[in-house]
């Protein structure tokens, strides 16, 4: 009986203890079944009343970065944050997605001697006025150390790209001269060698080398989570898992102290909650805003919607396989004029208008939004009359059922995409438009987890189970290279990971791709991509349904916010906030 009394007492004490803070919290709860909770709230301080006003910019992220050491993450959100606290890439990218010198004094070229005549050696001259936030100078040794850490078997780094396949050695000629030697001339060096884009920013050798020597690995280094020593415009202050990260202005930033005092990254995993937070003014910058939320947000008048390409284009791919196996595509697609007619029959601008609120347009080339886009290419117009004419000329005549046919073969296309809603809606609209010109369609949808499986894994697209397929893709952004149309990438049992899921080999195109892959000089390379885009456009190998940029919301209180598609927060030191 004694025990019973004791436990009852404990229960009451616990209840009272829990209730005290609680009454304050639950008094104003709007629960419909709460008639008892009538006492007035103890009027907590309104959240806006602050003693000393710091210039804080709140940014909402829908995903939490996993690791702040660039070697251990490939998440976009982690990459984006590195522009704040690390930002020690040799090059960075501006809002035109052009490379600009950053820690390197200038971009190496053939003319300034930065690139050797054989294209295999690149010499970077580093700034000598950049210091880590603890005062230690940033030198070429930090980059060499980073390369060693990437290649060490003791570290479970996310990727060794491109150091394992392309780089022979990295050396510090002197504290401010870094020499990278390649096995073969390597064109994507701008983006991929110690730039702010790739996960190859330099690590602070003076902090991490002792850790590596002690633990035998960097996997568990405290710096991975608390990178308090950095070189960026802002310095890491704290990271509370699941809640927020705080970055404070770096008073000694080499381009001068930033105008803001603090950047507060709040993790808001729910899209609808992010929109509510933006509307309530609890978020100054939001990212990956959905098209359907834009009209409402714009109506508020308190923010701008800003788009920036990170290379992605919603695209159509034609199956051009003539193999006598399951990969075989519809024979009509072999004729470039039929492919052109298929595109002409569709009013892609109307799809953008109806499904994407008119905020985007079909891209014209695969490289739109980068310096590699050929400005002379003309888009294929919407012209159903012209489409009918082209199909008639190609021998595809309208049959009794209104569907075109040739030699007993019906013009019926398998149109495959993922289960995403906007894609399903696009399919339905396109099906109607094709019907108008006598093309029949079978709509196919695969869930995203199997859609992109490789040929070896029996992926439905990679094994040619389509005639027209739609998905969003990009080149090796910001580098323009892509494996999509290379002859050697055609998947087969011998090459199960091949990326050319259109199963065609255009010798002229393949030679141009091979040529650009060794064109270390950027100007020559841009010209090669102009030619590549022309062939792709003339022969209608690839068509964009719409350009697929990243959408940001930016409070009108902010100034000078200019995103890059490759290194979004590249100019955070210039951002300002005016109340």
């Amino acid at each position: 009986m004694k025990n019973v009394c004791w436990s009852r007492l404990t229960v009451w004490v616990m209840l009272v203890a829990l209730l005290v803070p609680l009454l304050a919290a639950c008094a104003p709860t709007p629960t419909p079944v709460a008639p008892a909770a009538t006492p007035a709230p103890p009027t907590p301080v309104p959240p806006t009343a602050t003693p000393a006003r710091l210039k804080v910019v709140t940014i909402t992220f829908t995903q939490e970065p996993d690791n702040l050491n660039p070697l251990y993450t490939s998440m976009w959100f982690a990459l984006t944050l590195r522009d704040l606290y690390l930002a020690d890439g040799l090059l960075t990218y501006n809002d035109k997605n052009e490379p600009i010198p950053w820690i390197a004094r200038e971009i190496p070229t053939l003319e300034n001697g930065g690139i050797s005549a054989d294209g295999k050696t690149i010499t970077y001259k580093l700034r000598d006025d950049v210091r880590w936030s603890d005062g230690t100078p940033l030198t070429a040794d930090d980059y060499v150390f980073t390369w060693q850490m990437i290649m060490s078997d003791k570290n479970t780094v996310q990727s060794r790209d491109p150091f394992d396949v392309a780089v022979d050695k990295v050396e510090a000629q002197d504290p401010h001269t870094l020499v990278v030697t390649f096995k073969e001339p390597y064109t994507p060096w701008q983006a991929k060698i110690f730039s702010n884009v790739n996960a190859t920013n330099a690590l602070p050798k003076h902090i991490l080398e002792p850790v590596f020597q002690k633990d035998g690995t960097l996997d568990n280094a405290d710096w991975n989570r608390n990178p308090t020593v950095g070189v960026g415009p802002f310095l890491f202050k704290e990271w509370e898992s699941g809640s927020h990260l705080i970055f404070e202005a770096n008073p000694d930033f080499w381009l001068g102290r930033p105008k803001l005092d603090q950047i507060f990254i709040r993790i808001v995993p729910d899209d609808a909650a992010q929109v509510a937070a933006i509307k309530a003014g609890d978020s100054d910058i939001g990212v990956f805003i959905a098209y359907s939320d834009m009209p409402d947000l714009e109506k508020l008048g308190t923010l701008d919607l800003v788009k920036q390409s990170s290379g992605y284009k919603e695209s159509w791919f034609f199956n051009l396989s003539t193999r006598e196996d399951k990969t075989r595509g519809h024979p009509a697609l072999q004729d470039p004029n039929v492919r052109r007619a298929i595109v002409m029959a569709v009013d892609r601008d109307k799809i953008c208008q109806d499904l994407l609120y008119g905020r985007t347009k079909p891209a014209i080339t695969f490289w739109d939004g980068t310096p590699y886009a050929n400005p002379d290419i003309q888009p294929i117009p919407y012209d159903p009359e012209g489409a009918r004419k082209l199909l008639d000329e190609a021998g595809w005549k309208v049959g009794a059922d209104g569907i075109r046919e040739k030699d007993g073969v019906k013009l019926k296309l398998r149109y495959a995409t993922t289960t995403r809603e906007v894609r399903r809606n696009t399919q339905v609209i396109v099906q109607q438009m094709w019907k108008e010109v006598g093309i029949d369609t079978e709509l196919i949808n695969h869930s995203p987890d199997i859609f992109w499986n490789s040929y070896g894994d029996g992926g439905p697209i990679a094994t040619g189970g389509y005639d027209v397929a739609e998905w969003s893709t990009c080149p090796a952004f910001p580098d323009p290279d892509t494996a999509t149309w290379r002859c050697k990438e055609i998947p087969s049992d011998e090459n199960p990971a091949g990326e050319n899921w259109q199963f065609f080999c255009d010798k002229e195109l393949d030679e141009l791709f091979a040529k650009q892959a060794t064109a270390v000089d950027t100007k020559a390379r841009i010209q090669l991509f102009y030619q590549i885009a022309k062939i792709i456009s003339d022969k209608v190998y690839w068509v964009s349904v719409w350009d697929d940029p990243d959408w940001w919301s930016v409070s009108k209180k902010l100034q000078n916010v200019r995103f890059s598609g490759a290194t979004p927060f590249w100019n955070a030191y210039e951002w300002d906030k005016v109340e």
Binding site: V4, S7, L15, L18, L19, P21, A25, C26, T29, P30, T31, P32, V33, A34, A36, A37, P44, P46, P47, T50, R53, V56, T58, Q63, D66, N67, Y72, T73, S74, M75, W76, L79, K154, T156, S159, D161, D164, N220, N224, E240, S241, G242, S243, H244, I246, Q262, I267, V268, P269, D270, A272, A273, Q274, A276, A277, K279, A280, D282, W452, A497
Partner: protein, 343 residues
């Protein structure tokens, strides 16, 4: 009683081992942890092969389970991929208190859980207390005033509350009390997070940010529990012993709380006993919407990336809690109903 508790605890050990084995096998089927390692791209095959080896994912599943359970610091592993096992591992295994390393963050699982658990407990225990207090109040009063206007109103609200999908309720509360109240110039609640960065993490700030999530979490359960309590109260107050108590001349308050409610509370104890361990898992939807940094978010973030060391850690923690709370529930029965004995 002590012997009973010891016996129950001993019985739990093989049970937990079996649970861990089943969960571990299911995890393997769940997905590929390396699938998201490429970010927006596909991981290169060179990196995939290397990481599979370095993270021990190339081993047969029973070896992986043994490593998870007992560690690998007693066996040699191959780090550089030359086919020779040259160095000892560093894991100590769950049995020696090492819950492993997250594939995603490369941090100890135990640290990641320890960071989130207090936030979740703060939110969930507060909600649970709100639920218990309000549902008892509503259940008892509406049973006493059966078929009154008040009872009918409570019934109607309970059905509305109970049939409310929690995402709708949460977003609805947020729009009404945070977005629109602010626009209308009324005192408003914050939308997301646990404090305002301009003010800092203070106790009033956290309480202020807790109001909407607690409201969203408790509404549905208050409606459900209120119905249970009302039903079991109605059953009890018509029993003979209540009439006897009245005939003895006991005060109505004593009859109600000592005799009626104590007996009516048995089904509630069962419900709460099942609920409490689940509180540790957090609230996946509500935490997501209100950006509350709790266990539910940890679970869902790492499910998406098939990070099974973290998922195993969370699920095993909940399994242990279920076992313990079942024992506590059984003991509570003996206090509520002296007829129940275990010895």
């Amino acid at each position: 009683m002590t012997r009973y508790i010891i016996r129950r605890l001993l019985q739990a050990i093989p049970l937990l081992l079996l649970i861990s084995l089943i969960l571990f096998v299911l995890m393997e089927e769940m997905g590929d942890p390396l699938a998201t390692f490429g970010g927006r791209r596909v991981l290169r095959s060179e990196d995939r092969i290397r990481l599979t080896r370095q993270l021990g994912l190339d081993k047969p599943i029973w070896v992986q389970y043994v490593v998870w359970l007992a560690g690998n610091d007693w066996m040699k592993i191959d780090l550089d991929g030359d086919g020779l096992s040259e160095s000892y591992g560093t894991r100590r295994g769950v049995l020696r208190g090492d819950f492993g390393m997250s594939f995603v963050t490369r941090r100890p699982v135990i640290d990641m859980i320890a960071e989130r658990l207090p936030n979740t407990l703060l939110l969930m225990l507060t909600s649970e207390v709100v639920i218990l207090v309000l549902s008892l109040l509503i259940g008892v009063t509406s049973a006493l005033k059966q078929y009154s206007v008040y009872d009918h109103a409570v019934t109607a609200f309970s059905f509305i509350g109970y049939s409310m999908p929690i995402p709708l309720l949460a977003i609805g509360l947020m729009y009404l009390f945070a977005v629109n109240f602010k626009r209308w110039g009324l005192p408003y609640f914050p939308t997301v997070g646990i404090f305002d960065p301009a003010v800092g993490r203070t106790v009033p700030q956290v309480i202020w940010h807790m109001v909407l999530p607690v409201a969203a979490l408790s509404t549905i359960s208050i409606a459900a529990y209120g119905r249970y309590i009302r039903a079991s109260m109605l059953e009890v107050i018509n029993q003979d012993y209540i009439r006897t108590a009245r005939a003895k001349g006991l005060r109505e308050r004593t009859i109600l709380y000592r005799h009626a409610l104590k007996n009516a509370a048995l089904p509630l104890v069962t419900l709460v006993g099942l609920d409490l361990p689940m509180l540790l898992g957090g609230a996946i939807v509500t935490e997501g919407i209100f950006a509350w940094p709790g266990m539910g978010r940890l679970f869902i973030d790492h499910t998406v990336r098939s990070d099974f060391p973290v998922l195993m850690g969370i699920l095993m923690m909940i399994s242990v809690a279920v076992v313990i709370f079942q024992i506590i529930t059984d003991i509570t029965y003996t206090w509520l109903d002296p007829r129940i004995h275990y010895d």
